[in-house]
């Protein structure tokens, strides 16, 4: 019998770590905004999403319009999006 490997489905859920808490994404592909929306609602607007390593060091920023493939146990954090010289001002408070 010829059994072919099933192609990966992107409709399965995947558990990632967001702000040190496990969260479940309903799909394997999400952008930076959608990743934040899996966590604390107070940390969506005015924040950006960073992928970090197991030691908490930043690997890269995931833009809100950048869709990425999520893998089990990958780590992300939300950080304030603005500040520093020349930064634009958005204050949702």
């Amino acid at each position: 019998m010829n059994i072919e490997a099933s192609p990966p489905t992107h409709h399965e859920t995947v558990e990632i770590i967001l702000d040190e808490q496990p969260v479940t994404s309903p799909s394997h592909r999400r952008n930076g905004l959608q990743i934040r929306q899996l966590g604390n609602p107070a940390r969506v607007d005015g924040f950006q999403t960073e992928e970090i390593n197991e030691h908490g060091k930043k690997k890269r920023t995931i833009r809100d319009d950048e869709e990425i493939e999520l893998h089990k146990s990958e780590r992300f954090r939300t950080v304030p999006a603005h500040g520093g010289p020349g930064a634009s001002t958005i204050d949702p408070a």
Binding site: E50, G56, R77, G83, G84, P85, A87, A93
Partner: protein, 150 residues
């Protein structure tokens, strides 16, 4: 007066989240209500003359009701750019200035530090139940990703 437990817990959380062992001063900076949150060995950008140095900031005893001070420091204050920045023709770190007396004498022997003008909380309101020392720290180290003349 030792730092309050809320600040100590926040510093412990910062250590766990950042991968660096942060400590907090036992005393406030003279003339202020600010404690110093710092680590003595933090990675620095390759363009600096030292690849590791102290890094920290000052936070109020009433944290989290009040934000950390809107700046951060590195030490020693003798850190320069390895090569002069072509836009400024200088090896001085941009927007950083040596500031004696920024620390209590019990921290880093009261050394002069380089204080970075690197604001966020003057343009993005501190929310005590949302923002954390980790947020302040991640903003601080974003400075190292920016162009030196930025």
């Amino acid at each position: 007066m030792p730092a309050p437990s809320t600040l100590l817990e926040a510093v412990a959380h910062l250590s766990a989240a950042s991968g660096y062992e942060f400590d907090v001063s036992d005393d406030v900076v003279p003339g202020t209500q600010l404690y110093v949150v710092y680590t003595e060995a933090h990675d620095l950008p390759e363009r600096y003359t030292l690849r590791q140095g102290a890094l920290g900031f000052r936070a109020p005893g009433m944290y989290p009701d009040a934000s950390p001070e809107d700046s951060f420091f590195i030490a020693p204050s003798t850190i320069k750019l390895v090569t002069p920045n072509p836009e400024r023709n200088s090896t001085d770190l941009n927007r950083a200035s040596a500031t004696p007396g920024f620390l209590p004498s019990s921290i880093l022997a009261g050394a002069s530090v380089l204080v970075f003008s690197w604001h966020i909380w003057d343009r993005f309101s501190w929310r005590p139940r949302t923002h954390t020392l980790v947020d302040h720290y991640t903003h601080c180290v974003r400075r190292f990703e920016q162009p030196e003349h930025g």
